[in-house]
């Protein structure tokens, strides 16, 4: 190291604004959340203390746990479809010319560049009861009643997959690009047909990208709020919705805090699980 320690400390001080921001907006609210989750809420009065009431309620009221698992299930579906739809795109991006690669990249990222309201209203116009698809199909007399394309799980999954696809495609593309194509050519020259090359070589070697993409999409899906609200109507309930409702309708901050912590724990568990799996795979 050519830097002396004085210079190192000098550089560290530059982090102060970031550190303060994190302390104020992340660590402090998190501590508050923890403290509140053990508080008691009775007759609209919050009593601080060390009560397990909120946690007991989560596990015993029958509905919260159900919605939690529904959120997990929805997130798994979203992750699954992102993977299925994103993998071919990443494969294509890897093998096409730089120009087409840029166009594809733009297409994949474009939902992120669109306002969430605009995006969901657009889906409404396409999937709604008298939206583009239903109108056309009825006009062509292919169906007599409008298809239920939104205000159900299908609509929510479709709209969320649309946005989060980029979080799957980018890590996948990264992992696939790092595979030297001569490795695949070697397999092919050894007598492996293309599907065999894919299954034995490309897929296993892109596993780090799959893991990263799935973890990312799953975490984001667990917390997605506005899209399910718009696309699901009141028919699809997720944990973030329940948390919001608890705060906004009942002013029950302690219960909301407990649910939020539970969501955080579930996500943390997923991160630990996926990084553990990844270590296991790379060691093999």
């Amino acid at each position: 190291m050519s830097l002396n320690s004085d210079q190192n400390y000098g550089a560290l001080w530059l982090l102060t604004p970031t550190v303060l921001l994190y302390l104020a907006t992340f660590l402090f609210p998190l501590i508050l959340l923890g403290v509140l989750s053990f508080a008691k809420f009775e007759a609209s009065i919050t009593t601080l203390g060390f009560y397990f009431d909120n946690y007991i309620k989560i596990f015993s009221d029958g509905i919260t746990l159900k919605i939690f698992f529904q959120t997990v299930r929805l997130s798994i579906y979203i992750t699954f479809w992102c993977l299925i739809l994103g993998y071919p795109v990443a494969l294509l991006m890897r093998s096409c010319s730089p120009k087409i690669k840029m166009i594809l990249l733009f297409c994949v990222v474009s939902p992120l560049l669109t306002s969430i309201i605009v995006r969901n209203v657009a889906w409404l116009l396409i999937l709604g009861r008298s939206g583009m698809i239903n109108d056309t199909l009825i006009q062509w007399e292919l169906i007599s009643k409008p298809l239920p394309l939104m205000y159900n799980e299908f609509g929510v999954i479709l709209a969320v997959v649309h946005v989060y696809l980029s979080f799957m495609v980018l890590p996948l593309f990264g992992a696939l690009s790092s595979i030297n194509s001569s490795i695949e050519e070697a397999a092919s020259s050894l007598g492996a047909p293309f599907w065999r090359v894919f299954l034995s070589i490309t897929l296993p070697l892109s596993l780090p990208g799959i893991m990263a993409g799935c973890t990312l999409v799953f975490i984001l899906s667990m917390g997605v709020y506005l899209t399910p609200v718009i696309m699901g109507g009141n028919f699809i309930l997720t944990l973030p919705m329940l948390i919001t409702e608890s705060v906004r309708e009942q002013y029950d901050w302690p219960y909301a805090s407990a649910m939020a912590l539970m969501l955080l724990l579930a996500i943390g568990f997923m991160v630990v699980l996926s990084s553990g799996l990844q270590r296991l795979v790379s060691r093999r």
Binding site: E185, A187, L190, A192, I201, L205
Partner: protein
């Protein structure tokens, strides 16, 4: 029967011609090298044989059958890359086993063949290692074993030693050639390294800008280059433009930019301008006044620079009223190592058989 045969193979990328009509055959058990600078089309040719690139026109035969429209996995070729291209997620054993599995070889037979292949490259003890735990040379040997274990019709090697250091490269060169001769496997080898080409090949195909410049044995390529390009590319050489002249004694002689040489062309067409090649190692430098009767053509030269290269000493000399030449002398320890110093005058002797006229 030839193992590989290319008949007027052409590869064009739009308006760019990568390979312009190549005719070539690799006979059974033969070691043929495609030699040329980067971008000469040698790798493109190899990849066409492997099936990764489809020729624009022409016929390609591997093991006697036409390869038109045959995908890579249905061709019996063993391919070794410069970057080894081992499967990083499989052990050495699994890497070698892959091709056998694709051929549906039964388990017991597979085991024996893997052991044979590992013995062949002397890596039996590393069977369970992962590629990342091997050195470059070991990885390249695994790649070789993996390609050989499927008993290919032809072994294709794409600059296989490019990523190894010099000592290991020299070692692998010998090892590969021995292995190839032992197995009598037809081999098509791509390299830009002339030492590799000269030391390993039965035949060398020198390529330049998508075309074959010359096909011949290493000796032919080095000593009797047919084109200016081959002369320039292989070894170091002095290339001079020469003219046939008639001397007073009515004998003809060769005047190479002022350097008087015996007429080795056997013709006496005076107007002809010819290219004269003299290999640096063929020129002898003598102290002036030393008595010699080798030739009538006495030329003297001045030493312009001396480069000490260990086993050889390279001089740059300027012939009086003539061209500058590069001359190398082997550094025989017992003779005076400092035979010449800068500015010295030397007598140069060029034996008749060291003068080569480039055709065309």
């Amino acid at each position: 029967m030839s193992s590989v045969e290319l008949k007027s193979i052409v590869k064009k990328y739009g308006a760019v011609t990568a390979v312009a009509s190549i005719d070539l055959s690799v006979e059974s058990g033969e070691f043929v090298t495609l030699l040329g600078p980067s971008g000469c089309g040698k790798t493109t040719t190899l990849r066409m044989v492997a099936g990764f690139i489809r020729p624009t026109s022409g016929q390609l035969y591997v093991g006697g059958s036409n390869m038109d429209g045959v995908p890579p996995h249905k061709r019996k070729v063993g391919l070794v890359f410069q970057n080894y291209a081992l499967f990083p997620h499989m052990s050495v054993q699994k890497n070698i086993e892959f091709g056998l599995k694709m051929q549906n070889t039964p388990f017991e037979e597979r085991k024996d063949k893997i052991i044979d292949a590992l013995d062949l490259v002397k890596l039996r003890h590393l069977e369970h290692r992962m590629p990342s735990e091997l050195s470059g040379g070991q990885q390249q040997r695994v790649a070789l074993a993996r390609a050989l274990v499927i008993r290919p019709d032809v072994l294709l090697l794409d600059e296989p030693f490019g990523a190894l250091d010099k000592q290991l490269r020299d070692h692998m060169r010998i090892e590969l050639r021995e292995l190839q001769q032992k197995l009598k496997i037809s081999t098509l080898f791509v390299t830009h390294d002339q030492d590799e080409a000269l030391s390993m090949s039965d035949r060398i195909v020198v390529m330049s800008e998508g075309q074959v410049s010359q096909i011949g044995s290493p000796v032919e390529i080095y000593e009797k280059p047919k084109t200016r390009f081959v002369t320039d590319f292989i070894g170091r050489s002095n290339i001079l433009s020469g003219k046939i002249e008639t001397e007073k004694s009515n004998k003809t002689c060769l005047n190479a930019e002022g350097l008087k040489l015996p007429n080795v062309s056997k013709t006496s067409h005076k107007s002809e301008s010819i290219l004269v090649m003299i290999r640096p190692e063929c020129v002898l430098l003598k102290k002036p006044n030393s008595k010699n009767k080798i030739t009538n053509y006495k030329n003297t030269a001045k030493i312009l620079s001396i480069i000490y290269l260990g086993s050889i000493i390279q001089y740059k000399i300027k012939v009086n009223n003539g061209p500058a030449l590069i001359v190398t002398e082997s550094n025989v320890g017992y003779s005076d190592p400092k035979k010449f110093s800068l500015g010295d005058t030397a007598e140069i002797i060029i034996p008749e058989n060291a003068i080569y006229l480039i055709p065309g």
